[in-house]
Symmetry: C2
């Protein structure tokens, strides 16, 4: 149901799409769909929550592994896994970033709060790397983290599974992130 | 007129917004607005065309300067100027990337064609840098260029003029791009 809803929201845009369209995509009656959801916004919230759930699961896995890793290696692993997720779930990730503002304030806030955990993790690793002299200490970790998320999020917009070799490009994006963070020090030091 | 339209489209979303809303934002009658435009889509197309015009102007300026520069320096300058544009015109840039798919196929294609000039420029510089041994030759320049555009585009979503020092962060994004491209070679060579 959520995959069908994501497809319809992606193709038609959330505002244009109706619960009827989602029911047709599923080949069921609209009434049957209303057994599972209350409103169209409820459906959107569930699609976006599932994305938050899945990327949160990746975060937890990387957090566990990160304990025994250098901070930039943990960042590389985090970027790699999240970029791969953006590649494998392009439609859902694109809908997430395009439509999150269509949610009511309270629903949106729940998702933003969940994203904050990702920000704290990435910012924390950048701060650790700065303490080790691996990232320029003068740069604001919050702003740097935005550059990291840009690479992850934008992947869902441009990646073409037919054209691009999945692992090669995920590796490349992860390297882009790590070198983007650590590069200036080598040059400037 | 275009600034008012961009504001309304950004706040309400293009599909929700009406020509009436834009007229109210301007403090004029809807009929007066129809002197200048034919349809709501016409208004969206003009907003996005203006963004394409302005970023195209930046491209031309950087192209001129680039003739006497090393390719990675030209890329740094291009990223810096485009990130600054995303910061200074957040609303218009955000509407561009969120609503471009709401345009008719023919209008959309005109804008995509204009963006191709940016892609060719960035890809060309990456290829030159590869020929000079400054970027890993094994990486696909097209995919690398997407990472560059990710940093530029995403800025419009996260930048906060009250929180972030404009030039410092534009510099940081430009460095992130250049080091992201050139970093792995230094490490791996």
């Amino acid at each position: 149901m959520l995959a069908a809803a994501a497809k319809v929201f992606c193709e038609q845009g959330y505002v244009n799409a109706s619960v009827q369209d989602v029911a047709e995509e599923l080949g069921i009656l609209k009434g049957s769909l209303y057994h599972y959801i209350d409103t169209k916004e409820d459906l959107l919230f569930r699609v976006l929550s599932e994305v938050a759930e899945d990327t949160g699961q990746i975060l937890r896995e990387v957090e566990e592994e990160a304990d025994s890793m250098a901070p930039l290696d943990a960042l590389r692993l985090y970027a790699l896994r999240q970029v791969e997720f953006s590649m494998d779930h392009q439609v859902r990730v694109a809908v997430y970033h395009r439509e999150i503002e269509a949610l009511s304030e309270s629903s949106r806030r729940l998702l933003v709060e969940r994203h904050r955990r990702h920000e704290r993790f990435v910012v924390g690793l950048i701060e650790q790397a700065q303490a080790r002299g691996e990232v320029q200490p003068a740069f604001d970790p919050g702003a740097l983290s935005k550059c990291v998320f840009a690479t992850i999020v934008w992947t869902a917009r441009w990646y073409s599974p037919l054209r691009d070799a999945r692992r090669h490009f995920a590796d490349r994006c992860a390297e882009f992130v790590v070198c983007g963070l650590s590069g200036p020090l080598a040059e400037g030091a």
